[in-house]
């Protein structure tokens, strides 16, 4: 989002967020429009203005998303401020308040593998039937 496209309230909230962030986090925000917070349990949280917060394992694997919203309508960067401050100070409260969506990657991987094998079997069966009928 270009700064010139922002409404006054969104710009104001972005400026407040930039004011709050320490230097390294501000640099990251300016480069990628995201903030990365390392939780006390080793989980890394990547907060973005227009997406749910990614939860990343210490090995770099994303294992889920967290969704938190303000009870008062606020610009997206204000929500980032709230998430940032909560994660820095009270990760447990954050995790009990936010809706968490955990990836089902392993399960989906098995399903996809099964479907792929089934497709191969169907293709082989079709080829064999064509050869048989010749």
């Amino acid at each position: 989002v270009k700064a010139t496209d922002e409404s006054q309230e969104v710009r104001r909230s972005r400026q407040l967020l930039e004011h709050i962030l320490p230097f390294a986090a501000r640099q990251e925000f300016e480069d990628s429009v995201t903030i990365t917070v390392r939780g006390q349990r080793g989980t890394t949280y990547r907060i973005a203005p227009y997406a749910q917060t990614e939860m990343i394992e210490p090995d770099g694997r994303r294992f889920g998303w967290a969704c938190l919203q303000s009870t008062v309508p606020v610009p997206c960067y204000d929500r980032m401020i709230a998430e940032y401050l909560l994660l820095r100070n009270d990760e447990s409260r954050y995790l009990t308040t936010a809706n968490l969506f955990v990836c089902q990657n392993d399960h989906l991987g098995l399903v996809n593998l099964f479907l792929f094998a089934f497709d191969i079997a169907l293709a082989v069966n079709l080829i064999l039937q064509c050869l048989w009928n010749r």
């Binding site: 709050i20 303000s70 008062v72 709230a82 401050l85 100070n89 308040t97």
Partner: protein, 75 residues
Amino acid sequence: MKRSLRKLSHNGDDVVAEWDPKTVSPARLNEIESEFNALQAKGYFAADITDGRNVLVKRFDANADLLMLPRVQGG
């Protein structure tokens, strides 16, 4: 140095109060503290954002820049 009490809002944020800790009167400080407590009673939580402290606080501090954040919920 001036300090402020701000709250997040649909405007981005609103300045609830500004004061100079060296010159503010005790009566005015009481008013500001009452505003702080009233917001907390409404469910807002407070953060001390002075010079990158970024810690959640429960009590009013006249020497801090305070930011009030509305209650949050799962989305």
